[in-house]
Amino acid sequence: MSEASKTTRSGGGSNEDRGIDYRGLALNLCGLVAGIAIWWVLTAGGAVGLPLPPQVASRFIDLIANGQLATDIMSSLARVMTGFLLGVILAIPVGFVMGWYKVARSLIEPYLQFFRMIPPLAIIPLAIVTMGIDETPKVFVIFLASFLASVVATYQGVISVDKTMINAARVLGAKDMTIFLRVIIPASTPFILVGVRIGLGSAWATLVAAELIAAQTGLGFRMQQAQLYYDLPTIFVSLITIGLLGLAMDRILLVIERRLTVWQERV
């Protein structure tokens, strides 16, 4: 009986840790096909005022062919990457300082929470007045959005770090800076990565607002311009490109996360 009922499961480490997860990819694909099918059925039914998938696909091809899409992607990507990276890199030390020093928390935190509630659109006039109309204010708006979104998570990560880890480090002679770099950061990696991923979403979602500031190219700019002519296929090309780029960056973050948190016991 034993041989017959043999269960061969690879065990402890989940498959995702190494190699490619083909089953997951296949399901992703299923989801994608289903999504497009639903879109098609809805629009073909005429129920919703959306363009048909083939219209959008052909506009995609046009915009790739004349190089406009590539230019837009490059300028938007540069803005988002810069703003996003600055935002999350600043969020980590600020989150630490807030979690660690009570005075700093009482001083800074209300402002952070206050500005988190303010729509990015409202920041634009101020950004123009202080930073002009070049890349700086655009990057700043994106930076602010991703910073504010991710700082909450980093802060929460810092205050959720298991006290005994910190005690263990202190007993080994660690001072605040070392504790921050070698204990707080690794221990709160899961939180920080939540922050980073939410920050990424905020960065992309703010792109359109940022490109209101005298952008000459960019996916958000293109979308606004297409809105003037109610050019739905172009709007959809921009939206889908934004979504896909964001998704791709999110996937990369996910892989990094897996790498950084192999030490965690997972469900």
Binding site: M1, T8, G11, G13
Partner: protein
Amino acid sequence: MAPKIVFDKVTRRFDLKDNAFVALDRLSLDIADGEFVTVVGPSGCGKSTALNIAAGLLKPSEGTVLVDGKAVEGPGPERGMIFQQYALFPWLTVRQNVEFGLRIKGEEASRRRQIAERFIDLVGLGDFADALPKTLSGGMKQRCAIARAYAVDPSILLMDEPFGALDALTRVQLQDQLLDTWSRERRTVMFITHDVDEAVYLANRVIVMAARPGRLKEIIDVGLPYPRTEEIRLSAEFMSIRNRVWQAVYHQ
């Protein structure tokens, strides 16, 4: 009578970066209904791994574990477990931790409370019933985990060094209590310990395991009568069995 628990050539490997590590190598073992077995062996020899497989928390890489003749598919409330690391729910008080399993069993509130009360008193935490785990000392956490497992009244008890963090007196008291309920209610117990005295004092049979790879080394019948008393503990026979176990564990 069919055995209660059957380990049938159970192998468990863990994938490491480059190779697979064999934590348990073809362990075969029958445990009779109502039997009390203790498991001893050097650190890292696969004791916890075997217990986790019996509990249904870990899948064997090869082989099967049968409980009541049925292959184990997952955990079940008829197999109570005490974890080496306690695994208390930190957001629940001692009482709520102990009531957790009872709530799942569907016991009504008043009965739940009554049962929990009994086991909390049994492990001497009466004054800490409303304390959160973070405010308990190491030994108190362990006792809370014991009360939680006892409360659901499982027919099989899987215990991973349950008395390891207790002081000697509390330990003796809990040993005697365990033997007492076991003999009255005919539970089946699989009990891991590092204390050879404890292993001999409690068991019908002592399972001795060896490391690298983790495997069964020897099974030693204790054959001392129950109830076990302080007298038996000091008897020459006890000493000789104790020495046999020691030899089995540490002899090359």
